[in-house]
Structure formats: C-alpha cells, structure tokens
C-alpha cells in the first residue's frame, strides 16, 4: 500500500518538477521504463504469492534498468540498437504479461 503511494508520489513529483532528462540518457529511457515495469509487476506478483523480498525487488529493479540500458547502449555501438531494443522489449513484455496473468489469477481467482 505504502509502495503504491510512493509510486503516486513519484508521478506527482515528476509532473510538478519536470526533471529535464540529460540528452545522453534519452535513448535508454523507454527501455528503462519497460524494465522498471517488469520489476514492479514481478514484485506485485511475489507479494501476492507471499514471497516478496525487499532486497530482491530493489536489486532486480536496479539491475533490470541498468542491464536494459546497457544492452541498448551496446546495440547502438554495434549498429543493432533497434533490433536489440526489440529483443529486450519482447522478453520483458512476455514476463510482464506472465506476471500480470499471475496477478489476475490471484485477484480474481480466474
């Protein structure tokens, strides 16, 4: 519950303060968002499964974002940036879908 409030506070902070994104971060931002969403959905599901662990959640969030950005960065340097971005989005998208389905089963028993 407090985590959800923190998320909303983060959104409000972003709207109010409008942090300017440094130019070199800009290409990695969308993929970082997808990675963060993956971590969040994983965390929610673990919470519903009753096995939530703060350390795992934080580490998976940080490492997901960093690894996703690193993959895109490497892809850009190797000239396959868009393809690698697609690969990352596909894999993370499948995980998000799977976790969302598990959450749905928990919530609605369906």
């Amino acid at each position: 519950m407090i985590a959800a409030i923190a998320l909303v506070i983060g959104v409000i902070l972003g709207i109010v303060f409008r942090p300017t994104v440094p130019l070199w971060i800009e290409p990695y931002l969308p993929i970082a968002v997808v990675a963060a969403l993956d971590a969040v959905f994983g965390g929610i599901r673990a919470r519903l499964d009753g096995i939530f662990d703060a350390k795992v959640f934080v580490v998976s969030f940080v490492s997901n974002v960093l690894v996703a950005a690193l993959i895109v960065f490497m892809g850009d340097k190797l000239g396959v940036g868009s393809q690698l971005s697609t690969a990352v989005v596909v894999v993370l998208g499948i995980r998000i879908f799977g976790n969302a389905a598990a959450i749905r089963r928990h919530l609605f028993r369906a």
């Binding site: 407090i2 985590a3 959800a4 923190a6 998320l7 909303v8 506070i9 983060g10 959104v11 409000i12 902070l13 972003g14 709207i15 409008r18 942090p19 994104v21 800009e26 931002l29 969308p30 970082a32 968002v33 963060a36 969403l37 971590a39 969040v40 994983g42 965390g43 599901r45 673990a46 499964d49 009753g50 096995i51 939530f52 662990d53 703060a54 350390k55 795992v56 959640f57 934080v58 580490v59 998976s60 969030f61 940080v62 974002v65 894999v91 499948i94 995980r95 998000i96 879908f97 799977g98 976790n99 598990a102």
Partner: protein, 299 residues
C-alpha cells in the same frame, strides 16, 4: 520415438517454456526458502524504488509527448535562421550589383569611347540587365496526375513526380543559344557562361538555386529566328511528345519586350589550356553555341 526427437527440440523449447512459464524472478523463490531476517531499511528501499519507478514513468511520458513542441520550436528556429541567411544573401547580392554598377560607371568615365566589344562581353557574361525582343518557353510539370493505375498505395509513380528533368531545361537552353540568343534567363535567373543546370533529388538546380515548375526560359535575340529555330529543334519535338504522353504543359512564343536581370559576376579568369582542360562542363550553352567565354575577361 520421442527419445530420438528430444535433443533437437529441447534447447529452444526449454528456453521458450522457461521464458513463458517462469515469469517471476527466481530470486524471490530462493529468497523465500533462505529465510533471512528483516532489516529496517527494507521498507524505505522499496518505497524509494517505487518512487523512482513513478518518476521514470512520468519522465518517459514527458520525454516522448512533451518534447514534440520543443522539436517544432527547433524546426521553426532553423527555418527562421535559413530565411535570415537568405535575406542576408539577397542583400549582399544587391549590394554587390550596386557596387558593380558603380565600378562600371567609373570605368566608362575613364574609357575614351563606347566600346562595342566590352558591351557585348558584358551582355554575354550577364553582368548587365538587358531588355529587348525575344522568345519565351514555358514548361510545366503535369498539374494533375493521370487517372491511370496509382500503383502501390502510398506511393506515387516516379514518372508522375518529376517528368521534366534537368536535361530538358538544359536542352532548351542549349537550343536557344544555338538559335542565336544573346541572353537567357530561367525563372528570372540570368544564365552566365559558367552557369550549371543540374538535377538534385527531384528539383532542378541552376547554380545551386532550386527551380520549381513551371520553368520559364526567356531568351533575348531575334524573335523570329529564335522561334523558327526552336520550333524545328529536336527538343521541341521531344517536349511535344511529353505533352501527349506525360501531360506536361509546354508552350513557346515570341515576346516583343523581355527584361532579364543581371547577375553578380565573379572574378573573371583568363581562359588557359591546362591539364584540367577536359570536356566542357554541362553548363548552359555548349562551347560552340554559347557566347565565347573568353570574352568575359574584358572586365
């Protein structure tokens, strides 16, 4: 049977099923079995992470949706800078023309008599504005695309985009030089002995100034001779064919009074036979038909 098949299927299917079925980070499972004790910073760390997630979401949204006006503003800025640079270039050009006129007037005051050769060279070089009788050729791209098959959706057949090429304009200009034109301008831009008519993308360039359809080629000279010579030329026949085939507009006729502007003539050079004397440049007017370029050195 399945035993034989397994090794080939195993790798990909195992990876895929792992990806599809075990969507939860395995760390949670192992952490749950390890049974570690709680720390006071667990809660704040999670809140901080959620805060970061929210911030990240908003930042990404703003970056993709609110950056558009910024891009537009940058584009407008570039456009205004281009326009400013163009107006500066026009002003400088006008100034150069004015100064050239002053130089010409001073030179005329110094020269003893009216020099016919100098006048002819000035006209040939495009250094002075000229007026007189002549003829005008107007070629226009087809205004409406023919209602034939439009091809793949979202595409326009190349033949309907740019029917008229630089070679057509160049051929008209060369024909007019050959028919005895003394001065030629295309869309109001005076041709000089070293003018170049080229093709870049889908636009025709005259000395790096893009020309747009319709292309008006004005030539000063003997109006009757020009018209007769042009009507009999092969380029006129070719353009008439294009009228029928591609739907371009093409007309020409004599004019009793035409006015052609002058251009800023660069520093003239003496013609020389050097190692670089190759084929004549694809400029307006071939070497045999154009006014002799060597006469530009008289200024």
């Amino acid at each position: 049977m399945t035993q034989l098949k397994r090794p080939r299927v195993d790798i990909s299917s195992a990876t895929l099923s792992e990806l599809l079925n075990n969507t939860l980070d395995p760390g949670y499972r192992s952490a749950a079995t390890r049974d570690r004790r709680k720390h006071w910073w667990d809660g704040p760390l999670v809140w901080l992470s959620c805060l970061a997630v929210g911030l990240l979401l908003v930042m990404a949204y703003q970056q993709t949706h609110l950056a558009a006006p910024a891009r537009d503003a940058a584009r407008q800025d570039l456009i205004s800078r281009i326009k400013a640079a163009q107006s500066t270039a026009n002003r400088l050009d006008a100034q150069a023309k004015q100064l050239a006129e002053q130089v010409g007037a001073l030179r005329d005051a110094q020269l003893p008599a009216d020099d016919a050769a100098l006048r002819a060279a000035e006209v040939a070089a495009g250094a002075v504005a000229v007026s007189g009788p002549g003829m005008q050729v107007v070629i226009g791209e087809p205004t409406s695309t023919p209602s034939s098959d439009s091809g793949r959706p979202g595409s326009t057949p190349q033949s309907q985009v740019a029917v008229i090429h630089d070679t057509d304009v160049r051929a008209v200009v060369n024909e007019l030089w050959a028919d005895g034109a003394e001065a030629i301008a295309v869309n109001g831009l005076r041709l000089t002995p070293d003018s170049v008519i080229r093709f870049a993308g889908e636009s025709i360039l005259l000395d790096f100034s893009p020309l747009t359809s319709p292309y008006t080629i004005s030539a000063i000279g003997d109006a009757n001779g020009l018209q007769v010579g042009f009507a009999q030329s092969s380029i006129a026949r070719r353009l008439k064919t294009l009228v029928a085939v591609a739907g371009i507009s093409f007309r020409f006729g004599g004019k009793t009074k035409l006015q052609l502007p002058s251009v800023t003539v660069g520093e003239p050079h003496y013609a020389s036979i050097g190692p670089a004397s190759t084929a004549p440049s694809p400029s307006a007017g071939g070497p045999s038909s154009s006014p002799s370029p060597t006469t530009t050195e008289s200024r």
